[in-house]
């Protein structure tokens, strides 16, 4: 049998990799991919907690479904923003999109 800690450690490592991707990558689409990794790590945690601690209460799975919906909304709006920026400025590099940078 697999103890809960294995799932939590896997999710922690996956979340950290997503965090690195978000913080370090230049390309805006790569940043969105990092966000997807982080959301997936959260989903693993939610489902693992549901399965191990409260299998009679489906709150964990229901929340994971909400995270799916939010991820889909986030990626649709995010990619629309990226494409719109690319049309205007011919770049998707987060370093060069500094119009609103203080």
């Amino acid at each position: 049998m697999i103890p809960l800690s294995w799932y939590l450690s896997l999710a922690a490592a996956l979340f950290s990799m997503g965090l690195y991707g978000v913080l370090a990558r230049k390309n805006a689409i790569a940043i969105l991919m990092g966000v997807e990794l982080m959301l997936n790590a959260v989903n693993i945690n939610l489902v693992a907690f549901w399965r191990y601690l409260t299998p009679e209460n489906v709150a964990g799975q229901a929340f994971a479904v909400m995270v799916f919906a939010v991820a889909a909304a986030e990626v649709a709006v995010g990619l629309a923003l990226v494409i719109s920026i690319y049309r205007r400025r011919k770049t998707v590099s987060a370093d060069e999109i500094n119009l609103m940078k203080w």
Binding site: P3, S16, V58, Y86
Partner: protein, 176 residues
């Protein structure tokens, strides 16, 4: 080592390896393909956790829609890729340090928590997790309001994405 553990180790290795390749590749199409492998590994983890419905939704929504959308966006912004020399920005050392610290901190926290070695509760034979989830999502004592709010959010995101990505007219007719 049981079969379950072997599958878990193999899947974890696959997920973490492809996640690592995803965040380090310069070529964004390769990164998107590694993202698909990682997402598929997460679907396998859902199967290991007896969440079959979520595994199917993971493949349908994440791989079938989100990852394909990513690949489309990469192709639509292709002109930028050739110019990009370095995939990471100047502060990537800080990002690496922060991510590593975060990972170790989380794993230490997980190790200190007493419930962490608990084993999975045995699901009785007549438990139908898909049926339970479906009932909870539409029952008034369950999650019907978050469920409906999520649908409104998706509609708002759809309209918002259309408005944001619509090509701008050069000189709109009202300015005369």
């Amino acid at each position: 080592m049981t079969v379950e553990q072997a599958v878990f180790f193999f899947t974890s290795f696959l997920i973490l390896f492809s996640a690592f390749m995803m965040v380090t590749r310069q070529n964004l199409v390769h990164a998107a393909l590694y993202l698909i492998v990682a997402l598929f590994g997460v679907a396998v983890v859902f199967v290991l956790l007896d969440a079959g419905f979520l595994a199917v939704v993971q493949v349908l929504v994440y791989i079938g829609a989100i990852a394909i959308l990513m690949i489309f966006a990469v192709m639509l912004t292709r002109g930028d890729v050739a110019r990009e020399q370095e995939p990471v920005n100047a502060g990537f050392g800080w990002a690496l340090m922060l991510a590593a610290l975060f990972c170790f901190g989380l794993i230490i926290l997980i190790g200190q928590w007493p419930a962490v070695n608990s084993q999975a509760a045995v699901l009785s034979a007549d438990t139908n997790t898909v049926l339970d989830l479906g009932t909870a999502l539409v029952s008034p004592d369950g999650y019907v309001i978050p469920f409906e709010v999520a649908s409104v959010l998706l509609l708002a995101a759809l309209i918002g994405a259309l408005v944001v990505a619509r090509p701008q007219k050069k000189n709109s007719g009202s300015v005369k």
